[in-house]
């Protein structure tokens, strides 16, 4: 299974937070990493595009193939987070949340999969959230979108396992990234005290979990691994 050996990888959401940590670690491990984000990323090939735009994502993947080679690895980490009580989630906010998370993952898979399937190998890791396992509060739109990623991953994983493409998800707990604002309740000592580990997850811990799946998780298909400091057990 050659897809575990360093080749070309595409990371969405690579400009900051978890995506940036994953891109950095993969590069350290010898991968040629392209980053796709609204902002520029510190990757070998930084591509700026909106993951909700299927045509733009396809164009980005085509450029990766031209400049670095066809990606055998895809990490979908693009995401946004904003707390809202359910009655304040309007139609656009709801649809946009689904478009970024579920649509972003699906668009990247649609673009990268034909090449992987033609070669009979590939690795995809979607980034979900611990909140999709345990639920949250004031974030029904976000959790619905992240939960959809889990269902998508499980089915895609089973569908593609016979064809040599491994699809799994990492569902991080509250992670110390810019997505969690400085004044977020997730940083409050009262909240952290409710976690068995009493602290936030580090971006590196999420990246190391992704790296494990990429390099050695060769018998996982459609599964979710959740480094979450005990937030969801």
């Amino acid at each position: 299974m050659n897809s575990t050996e360093p080749g070309v990888g595409l990371v969405t959401g690579a400009a900051s937070g978890i995506g940036a940590a994953i891109a950095k670690l993969l590069a350290e491990r010898g991968w040629r990493v392209a980053g796709l984000d609204l902002d520029s990323s510190a990757t070998e090939l930084s591509l700026q595009a909106d993951v909700t735009d299927r045509t733009a994502v396809q164009a980005a993947v085509d450029r990766v193939a031209e400049e670095l080679g066809p990606p055998g690895l895809l990490i979908t980490a693009a995401g946004v987070y904003r707390q809202l009580p359910v009655e304040d989630i309007d139609d656009d906010t709801w649809r946009r949340m689904l478009a970024i998370h579920l649509g972003g993952a699906a668009n990247a898979c649609w673009a990268a999969l034909p090449g992987m399937l033609a070669r009979g190998e590939g690795t995809i890791v979607t980034i979900s959230s611990e909140l999709a396992l345990a639920g949250g509060g004031n974030d029904a739109h976000y959790v619905a979108a992240k939960g959809a990623i889990l269902g998508f991953t499980r089915s895609l994983g089973l569908e593609l396992a016979p064809r040599g493409v491994r699809v799994n998800s990492v569902a991080p707990g509250p992670t110390d990234t810019p997505l969690i604002a400085a004044d977020s309740p997730s940083r409050a000592p009262d909240y952290l005290a409710t976690l068995p580990l009493g602290r936030l997850v580090t971006p590196d811990e999420v990246a190391r979990t992704v790296l494990y799946l990429v390099e050695e998780g060769t018998y996982f298909a459609g599964q979710t691994i959740s480094p979450n400091a005990g937030a969801a057990i």
Binding site: R208, T218, S226, A229
Partner: protein, 252 residues
């Protein structure tokens, strides 16, 4: 070499998954104690290859476990890593299963793991942390016809993992479980005997039932245990990891 300077105890380390786990932990730099129920050439071989120590005890005997762990700690120091990998498995239709043998599954798999954890905890607390990887089974997640005893014991391990994840997490002792699907271990030869087919045929059948099209390799479980024992897995606690080639939906 992520585990340089670490110490590990692997129960059921003489063959199958345990052997692969012991070899991998040693390859990553850990000093390994290889537990098995009785001395054997197989255990000696793993001890020799890992440059580790033998740790003979029946894990279902709490006094024997306490003595064994004390001896290991004397030779290697307090343990950083415990891998509860031992297993006893017999199958029979529920009402026909011999009660003593039924309980033997539970005594070895569930109670044996409890005895091991209880014995290594004081040492892990002295070290200020530890990693415990429990080898459960897919049968404990989805159930399996004619395996009530084994499946119950493994499901008990899963619940215990979640509970100890919460209970010991604050002490930086991280308990997680692995629920593998069908792996290429000597158990498959037993399955072949039971089914009246060749070892090759039983492996072919299981592979055909798996979405990924093959049975799992012990080295794949060993790699996951090595990751769980490493610094990078520091946010994983109370989790059930399922390397199973996609068979979570069960057979058929």
């Amino acid at each position: 070499m992520r585990l340089e300077g670490k110490t590990a105890l692997v129960s059921g380390g003489g063959q199958g998954l345990g052997r692969a786990i012991a070899l991998r932990l040693a390859a990553e730099g850990a000093r390994v104690a290889v537990n098995d129920r009785t001395p054997s050439e197989k255990v000696d071989e793993v001890v020799e290859q890992t440059k580790g120590v033998a740790a003979i005890a029946d894990v279902s005997d709490p006094d024997a476990v306490n003595r064994m762990v004390a001896e290991v700690e004397e030779r290697l120091g307090n343990l950083d890593v415990l891998v509860a990998n031992h297993a006893y498995m017999t199958m029979a239709p529920f009402v026909e299963h011999d009660p003593d043998d039924w309980w033997r599954n539970v005594d070895v798999n569930l109670s044996g793991t409890f005895f091991l954890i209880r014995a290594v905890l004081p040492g892990m607390r002295r070290r200020g942390g530890g990693r415990i990887a429990i080898i459960a089974s897919e049968f404990g997640v989805v159930g399996w016809a004619n395996a009530t005893a084994y499946a119950a014991s493994k499901a008990g391990l899963i619940s215990m993992t979640k509970t100890l994840g919460r209970e010991l997490g604050p002490e930086n002792i991280l308990v997680n479980a692995i629920a593998p699907g069908i792996m290429d271990t000597p158990q498959l030869d037993v399955d072949a005997d039971d089914a009246g087919v060749s070892p090759e045929e039983i492996r072919r059948r299981y592979a055909a039932e798996s979405p990924i099209g093959r049975i799992g390799r012990p080295e794949e479980i060993a790699a996951l245990v090595a990751f769980l024992a490493s610094d990078g897995a520091g946010a994983l606690v109370g989790q059930i990891l399922q390397p199973n080639g996609g068979t979570t939906r069960g057979p058929g």
